[in-house]
Amino acid sequence: MSAQALPLVRPMKALLATLTWRRLLLTLAMVIVIAALAQPIFITPYPELVWQLLVIALLVQLAFSAAGQWPLPRVPHWVSRVLAVVLAAPLATLALQLALVGGSWSEFVGNHGMLHGFYAVTVLVLVFAPSMALGALYRERDAQAQHDALAFALEKSTLEKQALDARLKLLNAQIEPHFLFNTLANVQELVESRSDRAGPVLSSLIAYLRAAMPQLDDGDDATLAREAALVRAYLELMHLRMPDRLVFSIDIPAELGALRFPAMALLTLVENAVRHGIDPAEQGGRIDVRAERSSAAGEVRVSVADTGIGLLDTAAPGTGLANLRERLQVFYGHGARLELAENAPNGVCASIAFHPA
């Protein structure tokens, strides 16, 4: 027994905690009113009736709370609690009456007045207690619903905050000054040398800046086609800067262009391919951007494959990929994946796989 006593301490405390001041006062008030109403049918004096009823009411209330504390398997919650009240009413009355006659059963059974009182009190309690139990249950459910609604709102705002954080991180990371000024230096040379290419290159730069700069809302216009246009502008600028070292292709089927796609996600992968794959390689290499729908599962895979210097096992992953992973989760839910693989014979292939919303 003593081994079991210890683990029971905590639920007992929880049980006592259900006897709030509010509940105690309410019970007292009810008992005073009921005792006054029922006074004519009892021979017991009023004050005595009040405290007897009060003891019974408290015991019944404890039974109600206990049923909530130790739920029965396969029995609906409200049934077990009302049942507890119904059972507790006669038992509590009996216990009290027995206590009053010093625990003597024969004296209790032999005393007509007491038996009469027992029936009267039991009926009285049975009339009021179940309805009060149902009322309490209703209030509890209300509180639970309120609690759930709060938890839901909290979770929603946490998710929204995560999405916002992810976007802010992205905003900070974009439009590297180094890229911008180097490109402008190239444009300057084209303009000064009156090259015919100055116009088209400026157009690419403008397209890139327009897509990359202003709003990072993943709104309705955040589509794969728009992202592809941004990536093309970027790669054209990089090709201008390293014409002998960068070759690229973009193959995104028109039917996939309208799919929603998080802004800058593909650009992040392409920039990585340039910065960590092609640019450090003296001979340069090629970048192939591709999108395809796998026939079976309907999953879409967008990939960026480069033939650059590849990735060292010990190269610390940048925050860019971690941020991107986070954004994909926010945008598509947990089904979206960002995967990196070797691109034989050299280089890296990064891909985003997702189920279109």
Binding site: H178, A185, N186, Q188, L240, E282, L340
Partner: protein
């Protein structure tokens, strides 16, 4: 005035052309005798033609402009060319090294040309006669600059094992695990790995995206993985500490590890229970 010779090193051809065109107009006597596309070519062409002046782009593939400057040292007047690198510019100013910021304007280039001309007029001030002390100062600035750019993830792959360059202080712990999945070799970021378990001759990697076998042994992996994140808890098991949900003590000084979001339970053997002692 006798003609001077120069080398231009930049991986972007348009920028080489632009510098060459401006130099031709502002300093017609200067002869650009070679153009290099990367640090390695810059060093080779310098050794071949020994120009008096070298324009070096900081960011170049293979060996960077900083590498080339180390190799050339005080044998020529060096002007660094860079596009918006706050740290680089600060380092250059601090080390009294000449530099141009792309896109540069003509007046800035004119100033640089002025200084270069003065330098050529007083060759002794810069060349062989200069104190060894000076060389050390230059190397120091370049080392710090290379380390700084490396730390910021800029594209200075520079540090090829070439002698004087100090190795970068990068933590050499494994960051990616290569595993065959289907027909491709996946690169799995170590932070996504839940645990690794010996499986006959191979090791099973279990991560967010699935499971795969790799050839590395648990013994090798223990040494290669960051001990801040990974711990061996059994002769045949390494766990990612960041993915441990709880540790349950068992009988006989053993324990079990439960992972976050997984049903797998990993054994902790007696000799490794100490891993979780201080937690």
């Amino acid at each position: 005035m006798r003609s001077a010779t120069a080398l231009i090193a930049d991986d972007e051809p348009l920028l080489r052309e632009r510098l060459r065109a401006h130099l031709a107009r502002l300093w017609p006597q200067l002869e650009v005798i070679a153009e290099a596309r990367n640090g390695r070519e810059a060093i080779e062409l310098f050794e071949a033609y020994a120009p008096q002046i070298v324009f070096l782009d900081v960011h170049m593939p293979g060996r960077s402009g900083i590498d080339a400057a180390r190799a050339i040292a005080r044998r020529a007047q060096i002007v660094f060319v860079t596009a918006h690198d706050k740290y680089a510019v600060e380092a250059f100013e601090h080390g009294a090294i000449d530099y141009l910021v792309k896109p540069f304007d003509e007046s800035r280039l004119t100033d640089t040309i002025e200084r270069l001309r003065n330098g050529l007029l007083r060759p002794n001030a810069r060349a062989a006669g200069a104190a060894l002390h000076d060389d050390d100062a230059l190397a120091g600035v370049l080392d710090r600059l290379a380390a700084e750019l490396e730390r910021r993830g800029a594209r200075v792959p520079g540090s090829l094992p070439s002698g004087e360059a100090a190795a970068p202080p990068t933590a050499a712990y494994l960051q990616w695990i290569r595993a065959s999945v289907g027909t491709s070799v996946r690169l799995i970021p170590v932070e996504q790995v839940a645990y690794l378990r010996a499986d006959e001759k191979y090791t099973l990697v279990v991560w967010e995206g699935g499971e795969a076998l790799i050839r590395k042994t648990i013994r090798e992996l223990v040494d290669e993985l960051d001990p801040q994140r990974f711990a061996q808890i059994h002769r045949s098991v390494i766990v990612n500490l960041h993915q441990v949900a709880q540790v349950q003590r068992g009988l006989n000084e053993t324990a079990e590890v439960h992972l976050k979001g997984r049903s797998d339970v990993l054994p902790v053997s007696r000799s490794f229970v100490h891993v979780f002692r201080q937690m």
